[in-house]
Symmetry: C2
Subunit: 339 residues, 2 copies
Amino acid sequence: MKVDIRTVADKAGVSTATVSRVLRDYPGVKEKTRKKVLKVITDLNYEVNAVARSLRQRKTYTIGIIVGNVLSQFYSIIAKSVEDVAQKNGYNMILCNGDDDPQKELKYLKVLKSNRVDGIILTPTGKNADYINQLINTDTKMVLLDRLIDGVECDAVLVDNETGAYKAVKHLIDQGYRKIAIITGYLDRTTGRGRLNGYLRALNEAGIPRDDTLIKVGNFKKRSGIELTKEILQMENRPEAIFVSNIDMTLGTIITIKEMGLKIPEDIGIVSFDDSEWAMLLDHPITAISQPAYSLGSTSAEMLIKRINGEQIGLNNKPIVITLNTELIIRSSTKNVKK
Amino acid sequence: MKVDIRTVADKAGVSTATVSRVLRDYPGVKEKTRKKVLKVITDLNYEVNAVARSLRQRKTYTIGIIVGNVLSQFYSIIAKSVEDVAQKNGYNMILCNGDDDPQKELKYLKVLKSNRVDGIILTPTGKNADYINQLINTDTKMVLLDRLIDGVECDAVLVDNETGAYKAVKHLIDQGYRKIAIITGYLDRTTGRGRLNGYLRALNEAGIPRDDTLIKVGNFKKRSGIELTKEILQMENRPEAIFVSNIDMTLGTIITIKEMGLKIPEDIGIVSFDDSEWAMLLDHPITAISQPAYSLGSTSAEMLIKRINGEQIGLNNKPIVITLNTELIIRSSTKNVKK
DNA sequence: ATGAAAGCGCTAACAT
DNA sequence: ATGTTAGCGCTTTCAT
C-alpha cells in the first residue's frame, strides 16, 4: 500500500500543508495537531519522499564524491571522513569510483550534476578542465581534493607533496645515501610532479647532480612498483636507496626486493610517500611520509558545505587552496649500514 | 541561467514530449527532429533533471549499500565490485558506512528508503529485524551481504565461515599443534559464530577437548586483537597457535607478538581468517583463509538487480542464499618447528 | 493556526 | 510523428 503525505493528511483530518509543517518542525502548529499528525505518521510508517522534496526544494541534501580508487586505503579514509562530516551536517554522500580514468570522471560528474547534488568533491585526473569550468561557472559547488587541474580555479585541499618528498629524500641524504632513485607517479598530476620536485630540490641542495636514469615514472599502482623496482635493481651500478611516491608502488617495491633476495636496508634503503599500518610490521619497518588523509577529507567536506550554505570564506570569496602538512616517520628501512 | 526541458523544447520549436522522447532514445521521432533537438541540448548544455525524472518514473536507478566499515579492505573491495556491477547496469550507488552500529544502520536504512533507492545491499549488524522485515514486506528489494539476521528471510550472499575456519584450524592440527586458541568476533553475528563453530568442529574431530580459556571474544577490530593476544600470550601455559577470525584483529595480534619479542612461528603459530597483500611480506608470511570479497559484492549486486527487474530467481521466487567458498593459503606462519 | 492551490521538471497516456 | 495534459509527492506562498 502506498502511503504519501495525502494519506497522512486525510487520516489525521488536516491538510497536506499542515503535515508538511510537522515534518519539517515548522513552528506555529498547535501542539495538539502536531501530536495527532505524528501519531498517524508512526501508525502508517510514513517516510517522506525525499525525491519529491528535493524536486520542490531544489535541494537534495546530498554531496557527491569522486575518488581516484576506492580500493586504496588512502581514499577509503577520505571517503570515511567525508561521510562523517556530511552526516554531521545532515547530508548524504554518493561515492563514485573515478578509477583515475578521465572518461569515468566525466561520466560521474554528469551523473552527479544530473542528480542535482548540492556539491561535489573531486579527486581530479587533471583532464576535463572545460566541463569542470562549465560546472563551476554554472554555480555547481565544488572542492578539489589532493590534486589541482591546470586551467581551473577552484577551492582545493591538498597535501604539501613537494615538502613531503623533500623531507623524505633529505632524510636519505642525511643518512649518507648519495645514489638515490625515485619511482614517481603520473607527472601530469600535481601529486606526481610535486613529489618529483621535492626529490630534485633535496638532491640539488646537497649538491648531488640530477641523474635521469634514476628517475622512473610509474602510475601509482602496485604493478608499476614491481616493474620499475626490477629495472632499478638490475642497473649495473645499483642505487643505494629508492624513494617511492606512494604506498601501492611501495608494496610492489618490497615484493620485488624480497623476490630478488635482497635485504632492506642492507642492500637497498627505502622510503615511501604514504604510510600503512602494515609497513611497520615488516622485518625492516618502512620509513614513510604520512599523509593526513582524514583531515584532507574532512576539511574539504567542511569547505564544501560552507560553500553550499553560502557562507563567506576567506577574502572576497575567491577560491581557497588549503595545503596540509605531512610527517616523516623514521623507521629502520633507511638505516644506512654502510655509512 | 536555468535550463530545463521547456527551454530546450522552445528553442527547438517542439513540445516537451518530443524532447523527452529524444532524451530516452524513444523510437518514432523523425531523424531530422532528433538531430535538431540534440543540437539544442548540446548548445544549452542541458542535463536532464534526474530528480524530476525519478519522481515521475518512480524509479531512481540508484542502489544503496550499507557496509560494516569502509575502512577495511574487505568492504572496500565489496564497494568496488558493487559499483562495477551497478555501473554496468546503469545504476548509481549510494555508499553508507554503517560502522557496525545498529543505530547508524537503522538511520541509513531510513535514508535510503526515503530516497526511494531501487534496492539495498546490507551488511547487517543483526539488529533492526523488525524494521528490515517491514521494508521487505513493503516490497523493498534487499540483499544481505556476508551475514544473516535472525528472524529475517531475505536473499543473501555469504561466505562459508564455518568451513573456512574448519580448514584453518584443521591445518594447524595437521601441523602438529594441539593447544590452539581462537580470537573470535561478535558471537551474535553469523560470521563470528560460524568461525567459532568451524574451530570447534576441527578440534572435536581431532579429539581435542574444548577449553573455554582458549576462546577469546573480540569485536573484529585491531584494538581487540591487541588486547586479546596479550591475554593469550600471558597465560601461564601458553597456547602453541592462534586462529584469528579477521584481518584487522590479526594486525593487532602481530603487533602484540612483535612487541612481546616473540617469533612467528617459533614461539606461536598464526592463521588468519581473511588475507592481506601485506601479510605475505612479513618475515613470516601469514597463513590465511582468503575470502572471495569481489565475488561477494558482485554476486549480491547482480542478484539485487535481477530482483529489481522482476526476474525470476530460483524456484517459486523464494529468498535465495548463496554461499561462497574460501581458500586456505598456506604460508610460513604455521610451520610448526617443534613438531 | 490552518487550508487551498500552484508548481518544482519531468514522463506517459491519449489525442491528433 | 508530434502535441496536450495530467500528475508523480512534496513545499510554499497567499488566504482565511
